[in-house]
Each structure stands twice: as structure tokens, then as C-alpha cells.
Symmetry: C2
Subunit: 353 residues, 2 copies
DNA sequence: GAGAGCTGGGAGAGCGCTCTCTCAGCGTGC
DNA sequence: GCACGCTGAGAGAGCGCTCTCCCAGCTCTC
């Protein structure tokens, strides 16, 4: 009964073979039961299940992947980081700390959970890392990629496409690519902000734009300007930020210096809006009495601190979930054409405007 | 030359066999070259490398894992979520949005990157999810687990231990477990905050504590009280928060009602400190003139908004990196005893105190 | 100059699983 | 009554890789 040392059979994890032996059937039958293939006698099924329980059998993922050619994992790639933001470490830290990213992860998770699939986090912030991502996918370690590009001119989407690897993008790429993607109607978002600010009677609205290379930033700016023009503001001063709080502060400082009488600010994301708020406070401007501020995203940055931000909400979680669904649809039907889904932004009214 | 349809050889990815054929050597030799095993003639090595390039060969991860028994991946598990925080979805969102978590991911990444390993993100917020995590590891999909418990009484660490699965915890568990972990000296952190507040001459310091079940929260509170007692404040009023901004606001409101003359606040994390700041502003209290506020973590919440928080910094990135290193040390030497590493917190002075 | 020791490389046995192929057994329909 | 289908189950061929053997051809040493 009791031995000094557990035998090999005891210590090694059970295999299909072991279960088959215990159940008195063939490997194939055990496999059928486990994978829920019909045509197995119910009684036998129970025998097999008992044997599985008795042996503590757990199928080996690698062996299964080897034959099915499916990894049961997807890569969640944060791509194109590392513009001019100083040292590597802090850049990386920033990406994951960005509340926007947290919402993406959250949305991906909720779509992945029912499928029993888990996301593998990857960073593609330099050529080497990019190559790593490609290898990873080519090696079959993940079945496809969910790509969140933080910068345009990101070569990854094109590389994935060229390699024939299944991928879906969050945010449409700089130039049209036959790849599936989800995005928010950034232009409409800009309009929403403009209409609100103008509606409040802003006489000198300004904007803190995203980096010029990022399509999302460009579109928000374009939409904002367009709507403002229609509202009688043919020219709207703007300063560019890099989507970080510090960037927002710098931009706000510049705008304030050049246009001391500004009374409305639209920032292309909440983090920059927060930065703007800080600078405005430092200059003794009351928000929203003296200056109204509208952000974009409705990330946690909108509600952390006072005043809470009026902001253009993008449904990031739903977008991320949709992105995941599209990827799996692609996996199931590789020949299908790329899909693009555009979400509508909404204005969330809070204290700042 | 050109055919209507690519042949099987064209479309299927190359295997070791193909490379071997092209190079005119055996599979074994190609494998040796690829895995950098010595004893291969340099000239032959080049031939093989050329063949690899010519065929576009990429080793198949599953096949490799199957024979090596290594997955080349680790699970990054966020465990024990979902206390009383309402619906699932928002809970999940909160976890990933927490800037603290972003720092953990960042630290894990920097330690994993040189190893060419990627983290698989998992959530273990209910029994089913927990079971999924265990299966995942038992199936060999990941070689070990990095566990960030957000709540004590989290059963996952014990389950991992019982299953003999390699794991390292961030934050020591509620009751001692023979598992490796990294943690910050929370008690010392509490002291740091107390000394600073007392040093500034606070007459009625109060504290917003973490949930009683979380060891980290308990220790921060204990350290704070201890040091305050030594400084002549035998009793420090406290209110409990749940580490969220909303929790901090509620706690601050209560404290303010009960102790209107309070002039110093130590919050067990930055998010709660931010909440406190909001409430203080709503009550017309100036920070730091009327009330000094000290946070804990030095997360991005500390610097988003005004005033910037004076806070007790824990080196989360380094801790996460160390956690990762410990896991791999364990993988290399499974028989070794569990290691625990304790990090020292530091006080970061900013505007709020 | 023969046995010992090394080095470079091939053969081939698996790793644990899925899935096709095959076949036995048992109705059915004309 | 016989060809035909249909269901349930086993045999066995891989999936692509690593790694242990094993062997050929050297160089040494006594």
C-alpha cells in the first residue's frame, strides 16, 4: 500500500493512455468522451468519466495543440510604443498604467472568458519586440492577435497582414489596410465636444490635440474644428499633446500664454484634460466658471479628482469585446473579408463643462 | 513556376524535416544548431542557418513544449476579486484600471522580456475561474503562476500549493504559507506616514485604512498607529475603505463628520487619498494648509490632479520583477525552499503634506 | 600499433493527443 | 434473405520536436 517513494505512475501526471487502461477502453474513446463527441454509449461515458476522476487526468495542452493546430490563446499586443517619451522603462510603465488600456483588457477578458481562452500580453515597442510577436504567432503559440496601436506609422499591422496572421486592430490604421478593426467615430466625438462647448456660450474655445500622426487624434481635432466652424468659430487655436497628463499640462500652459482669454478647452483624451485642469488651477482659473473643459474617453482619469470631467465617452470595453469576437469569427472562417465596426461616442456630462 | 494554387509545401509552414532536407543533414543536427548545442561543425552550422532562412522555418511551439515539458509562458493571475463591489463587469474593469496593477504588469514584463517569456493574464475572481487557472497550469499551458491577490482569504494560493504548482505571490498571504512571495514592509510604510504627519505638527491625525481582511491594509494601519502612539497620539480615529476612490470619499466624509477638527490624513492607498482630497475640497478645506494628506503606493493617482500627493512609495515594478525572478529560480530548482523578499517603502514628498 | 578517449553527426524512439480508417454488430427495406 | 446503412468502438498513423543512443573517424598515449 504505502511505499517510501511514490512510483512513477503516482507522481507523473496521468495521460489518456492511463485513463483508457483504467476504464478498460481505447484511447480514442476516452478522447471522444472528453471532447464531447457523440456516438459513445452513455454507460461507457460514465465509466470513462469515473476513470478520469480516479486518475486526476488533465489533458496536456501542448499535445493537443500539436495535433489540432490551435493554441487556445490569443496575443494582446500593445504596439508602437516608444515615440519620444524618454527611457524604455517609464514608457512601458505608462502604457500599462494608462486607464484606457485597463478598459481594453477588461473588454477583451469578458469576450474571451466564455471561450475559455486567455490573452497573452505582448509589447511591440521596438523592432526586436515586433519580431518576437511575429515569431510567437507564427510558432502557433497564439491563434491570432488583438492589436492596440498607440502610435500610427506602426509597422506591426502591415507585418501581420503580410505574414497572413489573423489580427484585429483597435483603432483604424493610418492608411487603410485590409485588416479587421474596431474604432469609435472620433470625428463625431469631436463634434459632440464642440457642440457642447459652443452651446454653453464659449467665446474662445481652444483644443489640446493628440499627436498629429495618430488618426484618432487627427479625427477628433477635425470633428471639433468642423463643428466649431459651423458654430461661428472658423479658427480654433490648438496645441499638440502626447496623450499623457504631462503633455496636457504643457499644451495648456502654451495655450494659456497665447490666448489668455480662452474660456473653453477640448482635450483629445482625459489624461490631457486632467493635465489642463491642473494648469488652469495653478493659474487661478475656475472650472467650469472661467473655463469649461471637455475630455475624451471617459476613463477613470475623468472621475479621479475634482472637478469630475465632462467627457466624450468611447465604449472601450464593448469595442474590445467586439474586436475579440471578430477575431474568432475570422479564425472560424479565414476566407471571410475583413470587418470593421464603428462605435458611436456619447457625451457624459459632469462638473467640468 | 507559377501555379494557380500554391502547393502544400508552399502554404504549409516549414518543419525541421524540411530544413534538414534542404541543408542535407539530419533533423537532429538542425535541432542542435537551432538550440545552440555545441559540437556542430561551424561550416555545417552556416549551411543549416541558410536553410532555415530559405525555408522561413519557425519552430513549432506546441511540439517543442510537448517534448520539453516547458510551456515558455507564465500565468499572471489577479486573484480574489469580487468582494462586495457590485456587478462583475465593473469589478473586472476596476482591477485592470487600477494603476497599481499596471505597475505590476510593467515590472513583470521587464523581468520576463530577457527570458523571451510572455505572461498570460488570468482572473481568478470566482470558484469557476479559480478552477480554470488550476487546470490551465496543470495542463502545462504555463510553467508557473505569479499571483496578485487583491483580497485576503483568497483560496488560490493554498490551492496552488496543494496542487504542487510553482507560484509566487505579490503580498504575503493572510496566514503563512510555504510559498514564495514578495512584499513591502507595510508597517514601516505606516510609520513613515505617521512620522511625517506628526513632524508637520498634526494635532488630530486620522487614517483611512484598507479592508480589515487585507494584511497589507492591517499592517499599514498598525504601523501608523504605533508610530503615532510613540509621538503622543495614543488614539487615531480611522475609517475603513476598500482601496477605491469611492471608498476613500465615503471614509473621508465619515471622518470629517466625526472629527471636524482633523488636520492630517493617512490613506492606505493613493486612490483613497484622492477620494479624500475630493471630499476635503468639497468641504472647503485647503490641502495641505488645513489638512495634510499622505497616500500610499505612489501610483499614477498620486500625480494625476492637484494637489499632487505626498505618499509612501512601494517599488512595485521592482517587486514584480523580483517575483518573476523568484519564480524562474524555482522552476530551475524545484526542490529549493520558498523565498520571501521584503522591500522597504520610502516617503515621496509632494504638495499634499 | 592497439586500445582508449573525443568529437561530429545520424537514427529513431518517443512526448500525449486527435482523427481517420476500419470493422463488428444490428436493424431495415424490397 | 441479402445488400445497405448506421452506430459504437478500436487500431494506428501521425502532429513537429528533442534527446538519448550509437557509430564512424580521429587523435592520443603507452
Amino acid at each position: 500500500m504505502s511505499r517510501a517513494l511514490p512510483s512513477a505512475a503516482d507522481r507523473k501526471t496521468a495521460t489518456l493512455e492511463d485513463v483508457a487502461r483504467v476504464a478498460g477502453v481505447s484511447r480514442a474513446t476516452v478522447s471522444r468522451v472528453i471532447n464531447g463527441v457523440r456516438n459513445v454509449d452513455p454507460e461507457l461515458q460514465q465509466t470513462v468519466r469515473d476513470a478520469v476522476a480516479a486518475t486526476g487526468y488533465v489533458p496536456n495542452g501542448a499535445a493537443r495543440s500539436l495535433v489540432t493546430g490551435r493554441a487556445g490563446a490569443v496575443a494582446l499586443v500593445v504596439s508602437g510604443t516608444g515615440a519620444a517619451v524618454g527611457d524604455e522603462e517609464s514608457t512601458r510603465s505608462q502604457v500599462f498604467t494608462d486607464p484606457f488600456f485597463g478598459r481594453v483588457v477588461s473588454g477583451v477578458f469578458s469576450a474571451l472568458r466564455p471561450l475559455g481562452v486567455h490573452p497573452v500580453l505582448m509589447l511591440a515597442d521596438d523592432p526586436a519586440a515586433r519580431e518576437q510577436v511575429l515569431s510567437y504567432l507564427r510558432q502557433g503559440n497564439a491563434d491570432g492577435a488583438l492589436v492596440v496601436s498607440t502610435h500610427a506609422e506602426d509597422p506591426l499591422p502591415a507585418l501581420l497582414l503580410a505574414a497572413g496572421l489573423p489580427a484585429v486592430l483597435f483603432g483604424r490604421p493610418d492608411e487603410p489596410l485590409p485588416l479587421s478593426c474596431v474604432d469609435v467615430a472620433n470625428r463625431d466625438g469631436g463634434r459632440l465636444a464642440a457642440d457642447h462647448l459652443a452651446g454653453r456660450g464659449s467665446l474662445l474655445p481652444v483644443t489640446i490635440a493628440g499627436p498629429a500622426e495618430v488618426p484618432a487624434g487627427r479625427d477628433r481635432l477635425a470633428g471639433f474644428r468642423e463643428a466649431m466652424a459651423r458654430r461661428g468659430h472658423p479658427y480654433v487655436p490648438s496645441a499638440e499633446g502626447n496623450f499623457t497628463q504631462a503633455g496636457g499640462e504643457a499644451a495648456m500652459t502654451r495655450l494659456l500664454a497665447e490666448h489668455p482669454s480662452l474660456d473653453g478647452v477640448f482635450a483629445a483624451n482625459d489624461l490631457m484634460a486632467r493635465g489642463a485642469l491642473s494648469v488652469l488651477a495653478d493659474h487661478g482659473r475656475r472650472v467650469p466658471e472661467d473655463v469649461a473643459v471637455v475630455g475624451f474617453d471617459d476613463s477613470s482619469a475623468a472621475t479621479v479628482g475634482r472637478p469630475q470631467l465632462t467627457t466624450v465617452r468611447q465604449p472601450v470595453e464593448e469595442m474590445a469585446a467586439e474586436m475579440t469576437r471578430i477575431l474568432f469569427a475570422h479564425l472560424a472562417e479565414p476566407a471571410a473579408r475583413p470587418t470593421s465596426v464603428l462605435f458611436e461616442p456619447t457625451l457624459v456630462l459632469r462638473a467640468s463643462a
